[in-house]
Amino acid sequence: MTQAIENNTLDIDELDRRIIMATQSGLPVVAEPYRQIADHLDIPTQLLMDRLNAMKQDHRIRRIGVVPNHYKLGYTANGMSVWDVDDAIINEVGEQLGQLDMVTHCYQRPRFLPEWSYNLFAMVHGHNHEEVLDKVDQIASLLGDKAHKHDILFSTKILKKTGLRLKDKG
């Protein structure tokens, strides 16, 4: 079951901010990781877990888990597929794309007419260039006339890559 996340922003209080600062670079790999963080913050473990669960609930946390290096897993090719879909059916189509294997991100974005008519972006990964092209062809067949046109943009060079970090406001 997929669902869309609206772009609403939420206030974060001081404790949430401290929790984010303490965990945004990762959890310790120990038997009681939450306890270790809670001790560091000088708060009860249960309070930390409650706050983390609350942030999962309202999508400030997407999920808690691991991120594999997809290159090391053999997924060395990726293409940004872009689709021109009627706004009226974009939720349906976006959810359909999100369900597909190897689609790691799926977003609705604004068009810039007339030069850029694509409003749905899906990142497609594969073991090689051909696999990504095949996958995009499969998506095109699946969508049929729900997509007026599509394109795929392969990255030719990583120009910069740094992590997203919340700045310490002190």
Partner: protein, 147 residues
Amino acid sequence: MDQLDKDIINTLQYDFPVCERPFARLAETLNSSEDELINRVQNMLDSGLLTRFGPMYNAVNMGGALSLCAMKVPEDQFDQITEQVNAFAEVAHNYQRDHEMNMWFVLATETQQDLNDTLNAIEKTTGISVYNMPKEKEFFVGLHFKA
């Protein structure tokens, strides 16, 4: 990478439990032991097979602003413009792509105002228009990478 490593990757991409002894709980479903799982995850982090372990925060829902931006950069100015764009700390990722819009970068700032200011500054510095494409909606993805 053996079957247990694959099972760990395939399981932990989705959900790491929030409880006192999460590895002990996972050991039950993965038919392993708490110590074994801790060793495996640490080893995979050390070897670079895993790049992260922990909560993935959603910058926009935390009050920050995030946007994907594109530019049409003339080929003969590409290196120079790359340097100018990358010099902005707010530029988190930047990729060259095989399209007329050949530079795609992600801007991450604490506020929407910072994002707008940065966009304007990039346009002023480079003399090139920026197509600002913030996400209007995000669709959850059903599957992650199969190890």
